[in-house]
């Protein structure tokens, strides 16, 4: 009989139940108390989850924490119970989610003024869904938590019920993600039919001993489609820009910072624990490296051509998801470690930028780069925070993004993709450059004032409804989260232990067999030693190159307008660009058609035989 360490096994369920109970309490009680009490209760609850997940992370870095609910521990490696398995990667994402929710709630004290307790209830439910999704070791529970966070997220997106854009964004988001969830559920059904199991460790254990079968390939494709709709891989990504452009800024923080990476996390968690023996690694590597590159290119091109600041950031999230997919798709521990650091650094920078977008909307009533030309010149702190965010996104050392990018690039080269560094440099330069261009225009009044004619095929940022009364000055509860997020991203690159912790976490993550043994047989975990160098000369050089390139991109964007029109290249370029833009139509039917195309492409990549 295996002996499970039950010392800290109560922690993962607590991380789940705190937000669920509190959200119920807030919903029942918010009418009886004043708004600050609701704010305090919700924020304190989220802070408790931060503490719990931090404790869990400290513990799980020495071995996974396995919780068999209601005492259904396996006997002789067999169990019908439901399991929560928290390893450092799952815990790290759970911690990120809790930290971002806490900061988003602090930001909302003064920001989301119209909302009463509903907003807090939904945010707490959203947190519960994310915690559950990150910590569970059961495939069906993944579907349930996927939809729990989904339902909360759809409602948060469509919260401004007077604004048609907001409602339409919520609708597109809801339909796309639910359809993705049903595809994932079909995949779960296929796997259950084949194995009679739902737990990830049990499933992996059974499938490791079976020959490759079409049903399992189909299950994998359906699961990937479901998770990567949430993970915004092209061509499943269309909902993301719509949802981000209309959701309140603190909600965007949660979407971009952690919900989208959670989709990617789920895809690779399931691959490593369940499918890694049955599916040929070559197929999977090719799939994600190609799809990741496509996603990155589509995202960064759309990012560069946006004038709505929040939509621009949303497209940059898509571009970065492409990079995460590539880095994880190398299927090595080094690539995974790079992706982890990149995700964490990106969460800080991108969240800070979304909050800056929120402050922009609160102060000037618009997030449109052209409308706001020079409007932010009188700010003293905010302009420099925006510059820091842009440079962080462009991977300037020592931001965490830069460390993650450098390690991912090395992993790409050693996995046999010599062009990987070029992709990473170009994408981070384009996205960072777009942010710097918008910052230069809005906060420094740089460049000639472009004629403000709105184009019919583009979403400007001037129609978005405010979340607040117009603010004269920025309250400290809105400024502090931005500063904390940027410092957090810096800390990931600077604090010495983070880098080796990420490597150990990656070793845990890619070892599906050890996951199975520890969950089912209580086998002790093997903690690998960190061996990758932290900052290398080449990595630093490439990081500085991308930051410099970003400044160049911003400069061309600001002052190169005249140059643009004269070049024959511009005319050549316009057609494909118009086609790409037309694809982002805001029409849910188009998006679903693309979803089916993506499903077929994934099926072709993974299922068809090839040499």
């Amino acid at each position: 009989m295996p002996v499970f360490d039950t010392g800290v096994a109560w922690l993962p369920p607590v991380a789940l139940t705190i937000p669920i109970l509190l959200s119920a309490a807030v919903l029942v009680g918010y009418r009886r108390v004043r708004r600050p009490v609701v704010d305090a209760v919700a924020t304190a609850g989220a802070a408790c989850v931060v503490a719990v997940t931090a404790a869990l992370l400290a513990r799980s870095s020495e071995g996974r924490v396995v919780t068999w609910s209601a005492g259904w521990a396996p006997s002789h490696g067999f169990s019908v119970g439901i399991v929560l398995v928290s390893d450092p990667v799952g815990d790290g994402i759970a911690l990120t989610a809790a930290v971002l929710v806490t900061l988003a709630l602090v930001f909302s004290w003064r920001y989301v003024e119209s909302a009463e307790g509903h907003f807090h209830t939904l945010v707490l439910l959203f947190l519960a869904g994310m915690e559950g999704f990150a910590l569970t070791g059961d495939l069906f529970d993944m579907f349930v938590f996927f939809e729990l966070m989904g339902a909360a997220a759809y409602a948060l997106t469509g919260m401004k019920v007077e604004d048609v854009g907001s409602l339409q964004g919520g609708m597109n988001f809801g339909i796309m993600n639910s359809l993705g969830a049903y595809m994932a559920l079909m995949g779960v059904g296929f796997l259950y039919a084949r194995t009679g199991n739902l737990g990830l460790p049990q499933l992996g254990e059974v499938l490791d001993h079976q020959p490759r079968s079409t049903l399992v390939v189909a299950a994998f494709v359906m699961l990937m489609a479901g998770f990567l709709v949430k993970g915004a891989m092209a061509p499943f990504h269309f909902w993301l820009a719509d949802a981000h452009a209309v959701a309140p800024a603190p909600v965007c923080v949660l979407f971009s910072g952690v919900m989208v990476p959670l989709g990617v996390y789920a895809a690779f968690r399931v691959y490593w624990v369940v499918f890694s023996h049955q599916l040929a690694p070559g197929d999977i590597r090719r799939t994600f490296v190609v799809m990741g590159a496509v996603t990155a290119v589509v995202g960064s091109v759309m990012c560069l051509t946006s004038r709505n600041f929040k939509r621009l950031l949303a497209y940059s999230t898509i571009a970065h998801v492409g990079l995460f997919l590539s880095a994880l798709g190398y299927l090595t521990a080094a690539g995974t470690a790079g992706a982890l650091l990149y995700v964490a650094g990106h969460a800080g920078v991108k969240s800070a930028l979304f909050l800056i977008g929120g402050v922009m909307l609160a102060r000037y009533g618009s997030v449109d780069e052209i409308d706001l030309h020079g409007r932010g010149r009188d700010t003293r702190v905010m302009k420099w925070l925006a510059v820091a965010g842009g440079l962080g996104l462009a991977c300037l050392p020592p931001f965490g993004t830069a460390l993650g990018k450098a390690i991912s690039e090395d992993a790409g080269v050693s996995a046999g993709y010599p062009w990987a560094p070029a992709l990473f440099v170009v994408v981070s330069a384009l996205t960072g450059g777009a942010v710097l261009r918008a910052t230069g225009r809005i906060y420094f009044g740089m460049g000639p004032r472009p004629e403000g004619a709105e184009r019919p095929d583009q979403t400007s940022g001037s129609r978005e409804e405010r979340d607040t009364r117009p603010l004269r000055r920025v309250p400290v509860t809105m400024l502090a989260p931005i500063v904390v997020l940027l410092l957090g991203s810096l800390a990931i690159g600077v604090v010495p232990g983070v880098h080796s912790a990420a490597q150990r976490a990656a070793e845990f993550f890619v070892d599906g067999a050890a996951y199975q043994r520890q969950a089912l047989l209580a086998a002790p975990a093997h903690v690998a030693a960190a061996h990758l160098p932290e900052w290398t000369g080449r990595g630093l050089a490439l990081d500085f190159a991308s930051a410099a390139l970003a400044v160049l991109v911003a400069g061309v964007g600001l002052w190169g307008g005249v140059l643009h029109e004269r070049l024959p290249l511009a005319r050549l370029r316009r057609r494909p660009l118009a086609a790409l833009r037309a694809a982002h139509s805001g029409h849910v039917g188009d998006y679903v058609a693309w979803l089916l195309v993506g499903l077929a492409v994934l099926g072709g990549f993974v299922g068809l035989p090839h040499r």
Partner: protein
């Protein structure tokens, strides 16, 4: 169990998705989403079904069952799925009603707020 149920389930998923693609009305689109989801109900129930087996209900005292029963796990999953569906459908219909109130139309072709 014959292969028929599996064909039906995949058909429902696809025809629902196709319905959303072709939809000219958001309420129609949301209901198509429910049709898609019905595919998952059929699939799950078909997986657990056995011809001639009884429902998974055991009396006292809890002894080892001597008769064949259909799989209760997939039935529990289907019930969970139904609850999820009810929540999501209700929420999306509420959004559709609100869109109609604000915009006077439910045709996705006429909603032009989020492009490019």
């Amino acid at each position: 169990m014959s292969v028929y149920a599996y064909v039906v389930s995949v058909w429902l998923l696809l025809v629902g998705a196709f319905g959303i693609v072709r939809s000219r009305n958001l309420i129609h689109a949301v209901l198509c989403l429910s049709v898609s989801q019905s595919g998952t109900y059929v699939l799950l129930l078909a997986i657990g079904y056995q011809r001639g087996a009884s429902p998974p209900v055991f009396g006292e005292p809890a002894t080892k069952p001597t008769f064949r029963v259909v799989d209760p796990v997939v039935q529990a999953m289907t019930l969970t799925d139904v609850v999820v569906s009810a929540t999501v459908t209700a929420l999306l219909l509420a959004l559709a009603v609100q869109i109609h109130k604000r915009n006077g139309t439910l045709d996705p072709d006429e909603l032009r707020n989020l492009q490019g």
